[in-house]
C-alpha cells in the first residue's frame, strides 16, 4: 500500500471532517468496548490468563530459533513446505512462484494482515492473477479499492448504506429491485457471489493466528467460515504468516485463544477455529493437494533483543485500537500505514523506519487505555516513548519543539533562575487574562487557543505566595 504516514496530520484533519466516517467510528467506540468488558467480567481468571499468554510468548521469543526449527520439521513431516522470506519482496516472489507452478489465474484469500503488509493483492494484479478476498469486510474494501482500516474489522470505517451502494454498483447481474436493507441480506449476497469463486480458485491463501511448533499446524480463527473454504477448496493452500505467530504447543495455543476472541470481539471463542496440518492425506475426504507456509520476517528479528521486542507478543486482537481515543477520533486510514492504532504506532516505525512513521508514536495522549486492555500486556505507551527517544536522539523531533523543550529545560534545571523568570511571567500572563480570567488567543500557543481558551494564571506563583506567607507568619 501507499504509506501516507508522513501526512498524518492532514489525514487526521480530513478524517475529522468526514461525516460518514465519524458516524461509522461510533460503532467502534460503543460496540467493541462493551462486548469485551462483558466477556472479561464473565471470566474470573481472565487476568491470570493474560499473564500466562504473556509468559508463553516471552518464552517463545526467547527460544525462537529452536521453535522455528521444530516447526519446520513438523510441517515437512506432515507433507508441507516451509519458505523463509526475509523481506516483503522475498515473500511476494515465493508466493508468485508457487502460484505460477500451479498456473493459477484466481487466488482466494482469507483475511490476512500479513498479505496487506507485503502488498500482495496489487502484486498479484500486476502479474495477471486475480485475488479474491473472501472475508466480508475484506471483500467490501476490495470492491472499493481501499485498504483495511482496522486489523480485525477491515471495513469498520463504512456504514451499511455505503456497502449497499457498492454491492448494487458491482453485482449488476442481480435484480436491481432486491431488498438489501438488512445486514443479513448483504452478508447473504456476498456469500452467494463468493461461493462460486471458491471453486474456481487454483490457490487459497490464508494468514495464521498461530503456528504450532509441536504439530506443525497453522491455526486461523474466523467468524464467517470463509477461511476454511479458502484453505480446503483450493488445490493448494498457502499460509502467509510472520514468524512471531509461533507458539510451542497446542496447549499454549489454546491458552492464548482464551484471551484472543474475548479481547477482540467479546466472544468466548470465534465461530470457527481451524487447525491445518499439511496437505490432504490419503484418507481425508477433502483438502488441498499442496500445503505451503511462507514465514515472513520483514524486520521482526531485528526487533528481538531491543526495547521493541515485547511488541512481538501481539496477537492482533485489535483491543488497543478499539479503546484508543485517537483511533476513535480519526479511524484507521489516517494512520496511513498497514497497522493503525497503538499497535500500529509501535510497529510502523519498526517496519518502515522512524523517518516515515515518526508521527504515530507522537500522536498519543499516553492515556494508557491500550495497555490496560492488551491481552498480551504489551506496554504500548512505553514503546511509543522509546520511539520518541530514538527520534530525539536522531534529531528528528521538529525543530521548534526541540528548541522549545531545550529552552524550557534550561530554566527548569536552574531553580533560582526559573523562579526569577516565572515570578515575572506569570503575573503578566495573569494580567492578560483580564476580568474574564481567560485568554482567547496567545502567540506561540495557537495549538492551544485554536480550539480552547487559555485559563489565566492566578497571578503570583505558589512558591512565591507561599514564601511570602511564611515570611508574614514569621514576622508576626
Amino acid at each position: 500500500m501507499q504509506i501516507t504516514t508522513p501526512n498524518f496530520k492532514e489525514n487526521a484533519t480530513r478524517a475529522l471532517n468526514d461525516a460518514p466516517l465519524q458516524k461509522a467510528l461510533k460503532n467502534v467506540e460503543i460496540g467493541f468496548i462493551a462486548k469485551r468488558l462483558a466477556a472479561v467480567d464473565a471470566l474470573p481468571e481472565f487476568e491470570q490468563l493474560r499473564d500466562n499468554a504473556r509468559d508463553i510468548k516471552n518464552h517463545t521469543l526467547a527460544h525462537l530459533d529452536l521453535y522455528l526449527e521444530e516447526y519446520e520439521k513438523k510441517v515437512i513431516a506432515s507433507g508441507g513446505h516451509v519458505h523463509f522470506a526475509e523481506t516483503a519482496e522475498d515473500a511476494r516472489a515465493i508466493i508468485l512462484d508457487i502460484c505460477r507452478k500451479r498456473n493459477a489465474k484466481t487466488v482466494t484469500k482469507g483475511k490476512s494482515m500479513i498479505t496487506e503488509e507485503i502488498g500482495l493483492n496489487d502484486f498479484f494484479e500486476k502479474n495477471g492473477i486475480t485475488p479474491v478476498e473472501t472475508d466480508l469486510g475484506e471483500y467490501i474494501i476490495q470492491l472499493r479499492g481501499e485498504t483495511p482500516s482496522h486489523i480485525i474489522a477491515p471495513a469498520v470505517h463504512l456504514n451499511k448504506d455505503q456497502v449497499e451502494a457498492d454491492f448494487r454498483r458491482v453485482h449488476t447481474h442481480l435484480p436491481a429491485d432486491r431488498d438489501l436493507t438488512e445486514h443479513e441480506a448483504l452478508l447473504n449476497e456476498a456469500r452467494l457471489v463468493l461461493r462460486q469463486r471458491y471453486f474456481e480458485a487454483d490457490v487459497g491463501i490464508t494468514g495464521a493466528n498461530f503456528l504450532v511448533a509441536e504439530t506443525g499446524s497453522s491455526v486461523i480463527v474466523t467468524n464467517e467460515g470463509n477461511g476454511d473454504l479458502t484453505q480446503t477448496l483450493g488445490k493448494c493452500h498457502v499460509v502467509v504468516a510472520s514468524l512471531e505467530k509461533l507458539v510451542p504447543t497446542l496447549n499454549d495455543c489454546s491458552q492464548i485463544l482464551r484471551v484472543l476472541a474475548r479481547s477482540a470481539t467479546g466472544q468466548d471463542m470465534s465461530v470457527y477455529t481451524t487447525f491445518s496440518t499439511g496437505p490432504k492425506r490419503a484418507e481425508d475426504p477433502d483438502g488441498p493437494e499442496e500445503y505451503h507456509v511462507v514465514l515472513l520476517d520483514n524486520g521482526r528479528t531485528a526487533m528481538l533483543g531491543t526495547e521493541f521486542q515485547e511488541m512481538l507478543r501481539c496477537i492482533r486482537c485489535g483491543a488497543c485500537m478499539n479503546h484508543c481515543p485517537v483511533y476513535h477520533a480519526v479511524g484507521g486510514h489516517a494512520y496511513g500505514a498497514v497497522y493503525p492504532g497503538p499497535m500500529g504506532a509501535v510497529l510502523t516505525p519498526s517496519l518502515s523506519g522512524i523517518e516515515v512513521g515518526g508521527h504515530l508514536p507522537n500522536a498519543s495522549t499516553f492515556c494508557g487505555r491500550c495497555e490496560s486492555v492488551c491481552p498480551m500486556r504489551i506496554p504500548l505507551p512505553k514503546m511509543m516513548r522509546h520511539w520518541r527517544e530514538r527520534e530525539f536522539e536522531k534529531h528528528l523531533t521538529p525543530t521548534a519543539a526541540r528548541y522549545g523543550l531545550k529552552f524550557w529545560a534550561f530554566f527548569a534545571r536552574r531553580p533560582k533562575l526559573y523562579r526569577a523568570a516565572v515570578s515575572v511571567a506569570m503575573p503578566l500572563l495573569s494580567w492578560l487574562g483580564g476580568s474574564s480570567r481567560r485568554i482567547h488567543s496567545l502567540p506561540l500557543a495557537d495549538g492551544w487557543t485554536k480550539h480552547r481558551e487559555m485559563p489565566a494564571p492566578e497571578g503570583k506563583t505558589f512558591l512565591q505566595a507561599w514564601a511570602e506567607k511564611q515570611a508574614r507568619e514569621a514576622g508576626r
Binding site: 495497555e371 530514538r390 531553580p415 480570567r437 489565566a456 512558591l463 505566595a465 507561599w466
Partner: protein, 252 residues
C-alpha cells in the same frame, strides 16, 4: 521535633504557575491529616514534558534535582496523578545502569504519593472538613487512574462531604485529550477528544467539574469556556480543603 511524618509537597509546575490555590489546598489537607509539611524552594518540574518528548537527558537531570530536594522527607506528595506517576513509576527507569542513582531513585519513588490517595491510603483519612455544597462530577485522569489506581479515593472523600452530590459522567475513565504536549502538537485530534468529554460533562448537569490533574482541568476548562458552557472547573483538592473562594479555573 515532632513525631509527625514529614511530607515534602511537590506542588507540580502547572499548579505552581497557574493555580496556586491547589498548592494551598494541598498544604492544608496534608497538615490537617497530621503531617509536618515542607515546601522545598528548589522544585520546578518533574521532567515529564522532557521524558515524554524523548529527551531523557533533561528528564534525568530534572529527576536528580527533584530527588535531591525531596529524598529527606518521609513522604513526597503531589496534587497530580500524572506527576506523581512520573516520580513514582518512571524515575527509577531513568537511571538504569547507574546503580547508585537507581537505588536512590527507587528509595525516593517508594515515598511518592498522589495527594488524595496519600490522604486516604496512607494517612487513613475518612473525611475532611469542607463547607462546600453543590453537585459535582469527577473525571478520572489517565495516569492517576491507570498507573496509580486512583478511582475510589477521591469519591470516598467527596462522598463524605454532607453538601456534595456526585453526578457521575459517562465514560469518566476516557482521556480528555490533553496528553501534555499532545494537545498542542495535534490540536485538531485533541479537540475532537475533548469535545466528547465536555458533552458528557454537560449531560450530568453538575455545577462543578473536578479532577486531580491541573493539565486535564485546564484543557477541559478551556474547552468548556470556548463552548460557552457554564460548568465551573476546579481541582478536587480545592473542594476537599474548602478553598473555593478563588474563582474557578478560567472563570470569574
Amino acid at each position: 521535633m515532632t513525631d509527625k511524618p514529614t511530607v515534602g509537597l511537590f506542588v507540580t509546575c502547572l499548579a505552581d504557575l497557574f493555580r496556586p490555590t491547589v498548592g494551598f489546598a494541598a498544604a492544608k489537607l496534608i497538615e490537617d491529616a497530621g503531617c509536618e509539611l515542607h515546601v522545598p524552594m528548589a522544585q520546578t518540574c518533574c521532567g515529564q514534558p522532557a521524558y515524554n518528548s524523548g529527551d531523557r537527558k533533561d528528564a534525568r537531570a530534572l529527576a536528580e534535582q527533584a530527588i535531591e530536594a525531596f529524598e529527606g522527607f518521609d513522604y513526597v506528595v503531589a496534587p497530580s496523578g500524572s506527576c506523581a506517576a512520573m516520580l513514582k513509576k518512571h524515575y527509577p527507569g531513568l537511571f538504569k545502569g547507574d546503580a547508585t542513582w537507581e537505588k536512590r531513585a527507587q528509595a525516593f519513588s517508594a515515598k511518592v504519593y498522589e495527594l488524595v490517595s496519600f490522604l486516604t491510603d496512607v494517612m487513613k483519612v475518612e473525611k475532611v472538613e469542607s463547607q462546600f455544597a453543590g453537585t459535582v462530577t469527577y473525571h478520572d485522569s489517565c495516569s492517576g487512574l491507570r498507573e496509580l489506581g486512583i478511582k475510589a479515593q477521591p469519591r470516598k472523600l467527596l462522598g463524605a462531604l454532607p453538601g456534595v452530590t456526585l453526578a457521575e459522567m459517562k465514560d469518566s475513565e476516557v482521556c480528555c485529550g490533553f496528553g501534555g504536549t499532545f494537545c498542542v502538537k495535534y490540536p485538531d485530534i485533541s479537540n475532537a477528544i475533548v469535545e466528547k468529554k465536555t458533552a458528557t460533562i454537560s449531560d450530568t448537569g453538575a455545577d462543578v467539574l473536578l479532577a486531580g490533574d491541573i493539565g486535564c482541568l485546564m484543557n477541559m476548562a478551556g474547552k468548556i469556556r470556548r463552548e460557552g458552557g457554564k460548568t465551573q472547573v476546579r481541582h478536587v483538592a480545592e473542594v476537599l480543603a474548602g478553598m473555593t473562594d478563588t474563582p474557578p479555573i478560567a472563570g470569574k
